[in-house]
């Protein structure tokens, strides 16, 4: 009896029409998926972008200053020539070399030197 009813019920169930989706549903799905605008990936990371932005802003600021006030150009020229003079000095170059070598030596040192403090002897 139940089996017969089950068969009838199954037939009725499988004959039930599916609900009709509201109009525009498919279009909205496609708009959100395959037709969604693709974001163009930036070749720079966020920090790099910020750094580039700051450098460009500084360059623009210096350029504006140079155009507005000629004395700034002279001051900048003095600064650059002073730097070049310092770099052409042998003592400065020696100290720079010592600094670079020290930095290189520190980076080559093991991060955590091992000490035989915990070694137990029987």
């Amino acid at each position: 009896m139940n089996d017969e009813f089950d068969d009838d019920l199954d037939r009725a169930l499988f004959a039930l029409p599916l609900d009709v989706p509201p109009p525009g549903l498919r279009e909205s799905i496609l708009r959100a998926t395959i037709y969604a605008p693709v974001a163009i990936p930036s070749p720079f990371s966020t920090l790099e972008t910020i750094g580039i932005g700051i450098a460009l802003a500084l360059a623009a600021w210096v350029a504006i200053l140079c155009v507005a006030d000629h004395s700034v150009v002279l001051a900048l020229g003095d600064l650059v020539s002073g730097l070049l003079r310092a770099l052409s000095d042998t003592r400065t170059l020696v100290w720079l070399g010592v600094g670079a070598l020290t930095a290189a030596a520190i980076t080559m040192m093991p991060a955590s030197p091992r000490f035989p403090f915990n070694r137990r002897t029987s």
Binding site: L16, L18, T33
Partner: protein
């Protein structure tokens, strides 16, 4: 010389991943109605069902790479849709009963009314009156046939539980239809 047109669901998924987005359009066309039906039967709210259907396809598209070749796309998309419904139902439960949206079954359109005979209407009403867990099982049974394993996979339930739920759902339907 003609290139093979993807036909099976697996081929359509592969084609979408290979850069042919229209293949996904075919999948949407193929399963939109069934997914909407599952969402509507689970949510009993046309607007929520629409949102769940959209969310299901969006999630499926985003995670298409995780679809295992050889698996059934229908089972996969039904599982995503069912979980989207569960999330919404769980969210709705946070509100008090007074704040709950009206979950009355949307009135069928004039076409649907003429299409459905009295028996079908009675059966649909009986299904809608079932508790949620039985309603979902019977809806998936309607959509997937006697593929108990697939139903179990969608609902993330043991097969024995699915069979028990189905048995009880049918029993409740039988009682509801006999008393009418």
């Amino acid at each position: 010389m003609s290139t093979a047109v993807p036909e099976t669901d697996g081929e359509l998924v592969a084609a979408t991943l290979a850069g042919l987005p229209d293949a996904f359009g075919t999948l949407v066309e193929r399963y939109e109605r069934a997914v909407y039906h599952l969402c509507l039967r689970t949510m009993r709210d046309a607007e929520e069902a629409r949102d769940c259907t959209q969310e299901a396809f969006f999630k499926a598209f985003r995670s298409l790479r995780t679809f295992k070749p050889g698996a059934k796309f229908s089972t996969w998309i039904f599982a995503i849709a069912y979980h989207a419904c569960c999330d919404r139902l769980a969210g709705a439960k946070r509100y008090s009963r007074a704040e709950m949206p009206d979950r009355a079954d949307p009135a069928p359109g004039p076409e649907a009314v003429t299409e459905m005979n009295d028996d079908a209407r009675a059966l649909r009403a009986a299904i809608d009156a079932l508790p949620e867990k039985y309603r979902t099982v019977i809806t998936l049974y309607h959509l997937q046939g006697k593929q108990y394993e697939d139903i179990a996979r969608v609902l993330d339930l043991p097969m024995g539980t699915v069979k028990t739920h189905l048995f009880r759902a049918k029993e409740l339907l039988r009682k509801a239809l006999v008393t009418e």
